[in-house]
Amino acid sequence: MTITLCYWGVRGLGEPSRYILRYSETEWIDDALVPGKESYVAWLAKKHTMGLDLPNLPYLLDGDVKVTQSLAIVRYLARKLGLVPEEAGLVRCDMAEQEIMDLRTAFGRLCYSPDFEEKKAAYLENLDKKLEVFDRFLGAGPFLMGEKITYVDFLAYEFIDQIKKLAPENVGKAKNVSKFLETFEKLPTLQKFFNSEEHKNGKYVNSPMSAFPGK
């Protein structure tokens, strides 16, 4: 039975899972909902009929397993596909995971803010500080856990790439991070996606209705 990932047809919080699935070369269905009222109404009608414990988007269906919450989905796929660190690396991995989620949360809060323009400067100032620390933490890599790629690299790549759309110079200043993004983009099993029309056409980062859709 084929894995199905259902989410809005934007990058948002769903794209890291999509990258993990692409990377693993597993068969999967990218059930991407067209952003807009029609899809939203259809989703509301179907939401509580799917056997999801905590109905939400994104959701993942894998045989009997049904997962919601984007990070729970990422972690489920990580365990399934061997993208988890060794026991001794769990503290570092968990800290990295949470730090990346903080970066994404702050970015999301700005992008959906009615006061986007007023808040942007303060956001960028804080971003610089956070990226400086993260850059030091990442070090030489090549990945967050060193030699071994793990699920936090997929979170880091996607969310920093999103932030880069808004703040390319700020991300550019973080040298280890910039090198990491390049390394990720060279992953062999992702070349098919990176060369695809889908990727070249680009996809909204956030809702088209947000202050920063980021296409």
Partner: protein, 174 residues
């Protein structure tokens, strides 16, 4: 901060011998592994536990986002916050089920997160939380845990204390 050579200059921070942890969720998971408050090996249990962890964090994020708004925005957004809270609580209540804890008989770290964050949500919105019987029961079960009895009996947790930073519009003491 001085004395804590953690990888992030962030609070909260935990030091356990050579191990230094920041990020509240990383700390919770570390302590969970150390003290056996983990869901076990079955994939369906891990999935349930991790969904609960993320869901309770969503409750806390929405709560904090409201509390730190300036007064006019707080009052303006409170009705929609409550409308959304009721929907989320209804789903969460169904998820919790009979309990006694999130993972059934086994106490895990997510119960600690649920107890604390739901208590905070309840401070602002007692009527909304009172409506969800399974959640209320889980919190009562938590308060009956033998090794926490001393803390709960001391009354310290009932003392007025800040939930959020003192400068937040709703800081839990006001």
């Amino acid at each position: 901060s001085s004395g804590i050579n953690a990888e992030w200059p962030l609070r909260p921070g935990l030091i356990d011998g050579d191990i230094k942890v920041t990020q509240s969720v990383a700390i919770a998971r570390y302590l969970a592994r150390k003290f056996g408050l983990v869901p076990g090996e079955l994939e369906r249990d891990i999935v349930r536990c991790e969904m609960a962890e993320q869901e309770i964090l969503d409750f806390h994020k929405a709560f904090a986002a409201l509390c730190y708004r300036p007064k006019e925005d707080f009052e303006e957004n409170k009705p929609s916050y409550h409308a959304n809270l009721d929907l989320k609580l209804a789903a969460f209540d169904k998820f919790v089920g009979e309990g006694p804890f999130i993972m059934g008989d086994k106490l895990t770290y997510v119960d600690f997160m649920v107890y604390e964050y739901m208590s905070q949500v309840r401070k602002l919105s007692p009527d909304n939380v009172a409506k969800v019987g399974n959640v209320v029961r889980l919190m009562e079960n938590f308060e009956k845990l033998p090794t926490l009895k001393k803390f709960f009996d001391s009354g310290e947790h009932q003392k007025e204390q800040f939930i959020n930073a003192p400068y937040a519009y709703f800081n839990g003491k006001n």
